[in-house]
Each structure stands twice: as C-alpha cells, then as structure tokens.
C-alpha cells in the first residue's frame, strides 16, 4: 500500500467527519459506490445519518436508527479534502446539511449563562 492509497473499509467507513473548521459533524455511516459488473467501482458519496446506519445492523439497528430520527444525508466525494485519522471536508457543516441536530438544540442552551462563547 503506497501512502496515497488506503483501505476504504478500514480507513474511511465509520470514521469521523470534520468540516473545514474542524467541527465534528457525523460519521461515515455508509458509502455510495457506483459501477456495474466489469467496471471499476467508484466511491461517489458519503452517506450520513441514522437512516443509513440503521439497516447495517438488522432489526436492532433499524430500531436504533428509528429512535435516532432516521435522518439521511449525502455528501459528494468531491467535497472530501483529505483522509487521515478522520475524513476532512472542504465546506462548513450546515452547507453540507450536516450537524443540524446540534444546530437545532444550540439556541436552547445559549440562553443559559456559561454556555460558552
């Protein structure tokens, strides 16, 4: 394995997503891969959210995914800046439709003193 190659099963799937500001905004819950028989398969997008990871673990996973809200997100592979111990994205989380759970909850905590700047 040359330094520029990596095992997508081991070093991409289930890894942390970081937006351009280093904000944690989800995990690589699944990958969209295109290419039929005889063609070279190509990773086209990162799939994010309970709606994507649920089906990976049978009925327990589906139940957990349903409890988690079943949200589905998709980030084009072209948005990936680099892959090291995490997957770094080129843009900010809200632009990519990520981290909305934290963004929805934030206003409630902001009203309490000491919630941070």
């Amino acid at each position: 394995m040359t330094p520029r190659e990596f095992d997508i099963g081991l070093h991409v799937l289930d890894h942390q997503l970081l937006d351009r500001n280093g904000r944690r905004c989800g995990n690589v819950d699944d990958l969209a891969i295109e290419g039929g028989p005889g063609e070279t398969p190509e990773v086209v997008a990162i799939l994010v959210g309970p709606g994507h990871w649920g089906p990976r673990a049978g009925w327990v996973g589906r139940l957990a995914g349903w409890i988690g809200g079943g949200k589905k997100g998709r980030v084009d592979w072209s948005e990936v800046e680099k892959v090291d111990s995490a997957v770094h994205l080129r843009r900010e989380a809200p632009e990519l439709g990520l981290g909305s759970g934290d963004d929805r909850l934030r206003p409630y905590f902001e009203k309490i003193p000491g919630a941070g700047s």
């Binding site: 942390q16 944690r24 990976r56 673990a57 111990s85």
Partner: protein, 408 residues
Amino acid sequence: MSKVLGLALGILAAIGGFVDIGDLVFNTAAGATFGYQLVWVIPVGVLGIIVYSEMCGRVAAVSGKAVFDAVRERVGFKAALGALVSSEIVNLMTLACELGGVAIVLQLLAGLPYRWLIVIAAVAFMVIIWVTSFEWLERLFGYGGLCMLVFAVAAVKLGPDWAKVGSGFVPHIAQNNSTLYLYFVIGLLGAAMTPYEVYFYSSGGVEERWTPKDIRMNQANAIVGYGLGGTLSVALMIVGATVFLGHGISPEHLGTIALGAGDPLGKVGLLLALVGILFAVGGASIDTVFSGAYNLAQFCGWEWGRYRHPKGAPRFTLTWIVLLVLAAAIVMTGVDPVTLTEYAVIFSVVALPLTYIPILLVANDRAYMGRYGNGRLANALGLVYLVVIMIVAVSAVPLMILTNAGQN
C-alpha cells in the same frame, strides 16, 4: 508545578475509576471475607489497566481518536452497536450507584433525608459540570479524592501481619469456599479494569488536547494514577481484613467502610475517610456520566467534549444532563447502591472484550500511529491481558449465579 497538575487526569481516572464505589465494596469485602488471600489480584488488575490506559491515551494523543471511535471503526457496525448499548446500560447503572454513594456520604455528614440528597447531588453535579472546565473538574475531584490516603495511614497504623500481607501477593486459590473466592477474583479484576475508565481516560486526553509531545505525560498519568489507585485498594483490603474479618462484620454500607479508618485514627480519620469517599464516588460520577455522553457522541459522530462548552456540543451536553436525571430516578426507587454496584461490575465485565480489542488494534495501526504504534512490550502485555479479559468475561455471570452474587 504544571507537571504535578498535569497528573490530575490520571489521578481522577484512578481515584474515580479505580477506587470508586465498586472497588470500595469489593476490596473491603474481599479483605473481610478472605483476609489477605486476594491481595495478589490487585497488582494484576493495576498492570492491566495501566497497559490499556497508556495505549488508548497514546492513540488519543497521536490520532485524536477516543476509544469509541476505535470501537466503531474496528469491530464492525453490529458489534459496535452492541458495545454501545451494553456500555450505556452499565455506565448508567454505575452512575446510579455512585450518585447513591454520594447521597449516602452526604447523609452521614449532613443528616438530611436520603431522597432529598439524591436530588441535591444530581443538581449539584449539573451546576458543577456546567460552570467548571475539564481541567478544574479533574483537579477538584482527583485531589479531593486524595483524602482516601487516610486508609493507607489506617492500614499501617492497624499493624497488620506484614508477612501474611506479603504472602497474599503470591497468586493462589483458597482452599475453603473456592467458588466464592473465584467470584471475588473476577469481581476485583472487573472493578479494576472497568471499561468506563478507558472511555474517560482516552476522551480526557482529547479534552486536554494532547499531542504526540504528551506521550511521556500519558505514561506518567497511567502509571502514577493507577499505581496510586492500586495502593489504596491494597490499603482497603488490609483495613477490611484487620478491622472486619476478626469480628464477622461484612461491610455492606459505605459508612461501615469509613469506620475502618475511624477505628485506628479516631474522629479525624473517620471524617477524612468520609470526605475522601465523597470525592472518590463524586469523581466516579463525573467519570461515568461523561463516559456515557462521550460514547454516544462518538458513536453518532456528534461534536463532544467539555472543552467545546455546552454551546459547541449541544447534543453531548443534553446527553449528560439526561443521564444524570435517569441515574437520580434509578436510585430514587430505593434500590441499594452497594448491591447495584456488584451487578454493574459483573455485567461490565461482559462488555470488556469489545472495549479492549479495538484499542489494541488501533494502537497497532501504523497508518495513523506511525512510529508511535505499539512496541513489543505493549503488544505482549496487551495480548496476555486480552486472554485474562476473555476468561473473566466468560466466567463472570456463571460465578455470579453460582455464588448468588457473593451472598453465600
């Protein structure tokens, strides 16, 4: 000075993890039941937790990954979900125990009704966590827990038969009641290597923004912190053996354990013991509530950490608040925290392999550990302890059933 303060993570992880309510109960009860015959289990457990804490601390320093990130990446999604569910249940049970322990000690110190004190303790924790930085949480509970050293003084003052204590360091199986003896061996190992210790320790390394420069600090934290925890465990066992064994008392109440220090050292000893226990179980409450929130956030990929402030990590913040409310509700039902502790320790043992295997795998991954990957010593010890963990995990529940949770 900053070097000494830098050891706070290790000390809190050790005092709050190693000498939490489970260890207080298991160590003192082990001494009260088997004298010094179980002392050897403590260094075995201490070395195991040092090996794996050092490993996951190093992974955190080099790659910024905490334990549950590694779990999700390495054991497959299904097993990771299983690990998440079981660890969250055990974390919540343990948190409930510790919170109950805090309320018991406050009751002994202040004398208010127990249920009121549970609510007061839970609210106090919410306020303390909200207003205090991670570093100061560590220092407050870690150094406050050092009052527990009174048990070491008590152990020496009680004048135990040191030759017998020494022979207890040699591994052996007790002749009489060997099933109960084995139950204690498993319980002591489980209490020493409780998974939440590594969840908290590794995420704590990220909270403190460790980099590869801090690898020495990580080693020092693991060795000094857990070494100290182990010393306290030996002291508790000696106190259990000298104060309670001769009199047929089984220390089933936290206050009884504190009396162990009060016996040789009088009122001051008793007070220091109670304050020490308060900070130790308080620290363990912090460890477990944060571990629960860290694990869920890391599994889901949410922003996490006290260092991000509530505003920067809202779902993480909501999770620890909900966990505190649930834990308070559990102890409010009147379940005895000490009994619940034994169940929590034994069930946590089942989750051990799913926690420790991914740490070993990630610490060996040169792709992002580079030259900081595991050396031969870390791998050899890691593998030996993996075998120990497997044996413990398989035998925990059968032994619990056979001994009726240590009651016979």
